[in-house]
Amino acid sequence: MTLAAELGKPISVPTGPRIRAPRRSLAISPSALLPFLLPLGIVVLWQAASSFGWITNRLMPAPIQVVWAFWDKLVSGELAVNIQASAIRAISGLLVGGSIGFLLGLANGVSRLSHSLTDTTLQMLRTIPNLALIPLVILWFGIGEEAKLFLTALGVFFPIYLNTLHGVRNVDPQLIEMGRVYGMNGWTLFRKVIFPGALPSIFVGLRFSLGIMWLTLIVAESMAASSGIGHMANSAREFMMTDVVILALVIYALLGKLADLVALTLERLTLSWNPAYQKSARS
């Protein structure tokens, strides 16, 4: 028995300090720069093309002009005001639409009655592109903040609703059964088993909806607004200020990337149990 017991010992995972990846030095390795090579090359080529007069500056300004436009708007304070206006719209739209989608997704994932009452209706509404509602929204809300909030909230609602529902419905039934045997009642079961199990899927929905959030906002702000990045780009078009238009595009790209980064960081913090997030710090 002793020998057998010794043989049967599970192969032990190293229990001491974990094997760490070699610490990164501060010097940036050449391979880390590789992804930036292409965009940098394009900018250089673009600047060269402008400088040699191959493209007209009226239609496509040189990168350096975009930088100057950025400086101008920054100093005048216009940029901060517009970014703030856009960010507030984006965040409030996400909060309103996202929380309704999240709550409905949970309710329909947990309750069969709620699901059969609302899911078919929601699935039908989902097929209507939210931007197709613009004429109606203008009639209902005018061109004020309500219209933008409505459109953004509607846009972010569906990805979050669908993915929350999917996540809740796909929680391992064996774990739910285990929870029941171990005496978990409704709320405890939800808090300890269902919600954490659905979380990876909810994050997928969140990242999807962030993309839709910016898209909707750009359209809503170009349509009619007196502030915001979209408004800045649109009024620049009227004066043929292409550098400001390009600047607006760059800012949208950066804001979108920032939002995605925040979501990714949240994901990594809350899903550290998942082997997929343990491998390394990079995605």
Partner: protein, 271 residues
């Protein structure tokens, strides 16, 4: 059985203490409950899985249930822990005073079923249910983990454990509330042959120490014979064979007496 506990392996690294090397401590007291099953039947739709089942299990007994797959052994276990309700018949638990009780029962599944988003110790705390203070819960869970020799893995995610370690954590979760009745539904079925032997010794030891009534479902007759006080063979929803094994513990695998019993059981299964 005299053993010396080695702490280093041939490469000089620390090894985990052997389960079998520790002599069971004195029994904590007879916590076990008796089980009385009368005329039990269970069918799913029109398909009868169990019928006319009568069984009396004395408190503290280690009972193994074997049988071909589909014989109803897992169903019987699920009925006993309340995961299913019987179609007819009655299950009652008898306390030490001879009166019917509602025992604290726990089950270990074939899969560990640990919450992947909770650390090993938090998974064990789940076994305590509600109403235990945070500090007490931690202390009890640590003790249960030490009992299955997993103390140093308390803070790990389950995904970092090996298959055997996960099942040990699941066992700790079942034991932490000190159940009077423990159901084990093929708990070693998914483990490799060598890990199984270690786990069998572990289960035997904690049962000897804690004195709960154990119902152990397995498809491995050798395992049943090595561990149980009594083995019943289920066939088509009824008890086909009921054999008491009063060999001294710890039992030596392949001993002639045990092999003879194993042969009888196998003959009973494949008659």
């Amino acid at each position: 059985m005299s053993t010396t506990v080695r702490t280093k392996n041939v490469w000089g690294n620390d090894i985990e203490p052997e389960y079998a090397a520790r002599i069971p401590r004195q029994r904590a007291g007879d916590r076990g409950v008796g089980i009385r099953i009368e005329g039990l039947a269970k069918s799913f739709g029109d398909v009868p899985v169990l019928h006319d089942l009568d069984l009396e299990v004395p408190a503290g007994q280690f009972l193994a249930i074997v049988g071909k797959s589909g014989c109803g052994k897992s169903t019987l276990l699920r009925l006993l822990v309340g995961l299913d309700t019987p179609t007819s018949g009655a299950i009652s638990f008898v306390g030490p005073d001879g009166a019917d009780t509602e025992p604290s029962s726990r089950i270990v599944f074939q899969e560990p079923r640990l919450l992947p988003w909770a650390s090993v110790i938090d998974n064990v705390v789940v076994g305590l249910g509600e109403g235990v203070g945070r500090r007490d819960a931690r202390r009890l869970a640590e003790a249960a983990l030490a009992e299955v020799q997993l103390g140093e893995k308390a803070g790990e995610w389950p995904s970092r454990l090996s298959g055997g370690q996960r099942q040990r954590a699941a066992l700790a979760r079942a034991l932490v509330s000190q159940p009077a009745f423990l159901a084990l539904d093929e708990p070693l079925g998914a483990l490799d042959a060598l890990t199984r032997i270690t786990m069998q010794a572990l289960i035997e030891r904690v049962w000897q120490e804690q004195g709960f009534t154990a119902l152990f479902v397995t498809h491995d007759v050798g395992e049943a014979v090595a561990l149980a006080d009594r083995v019943i063979v289920l066939d088509e929803g009824r008890i086909a064979l009921d054999i008491a094994i009063d060999q001294p513990r710890p039992r030596r695998r392949g001993a002639p007496d045990l092999a003879e019993i194993e042969g009888r059981l196998l003959a009973g299964i494949f008659k």
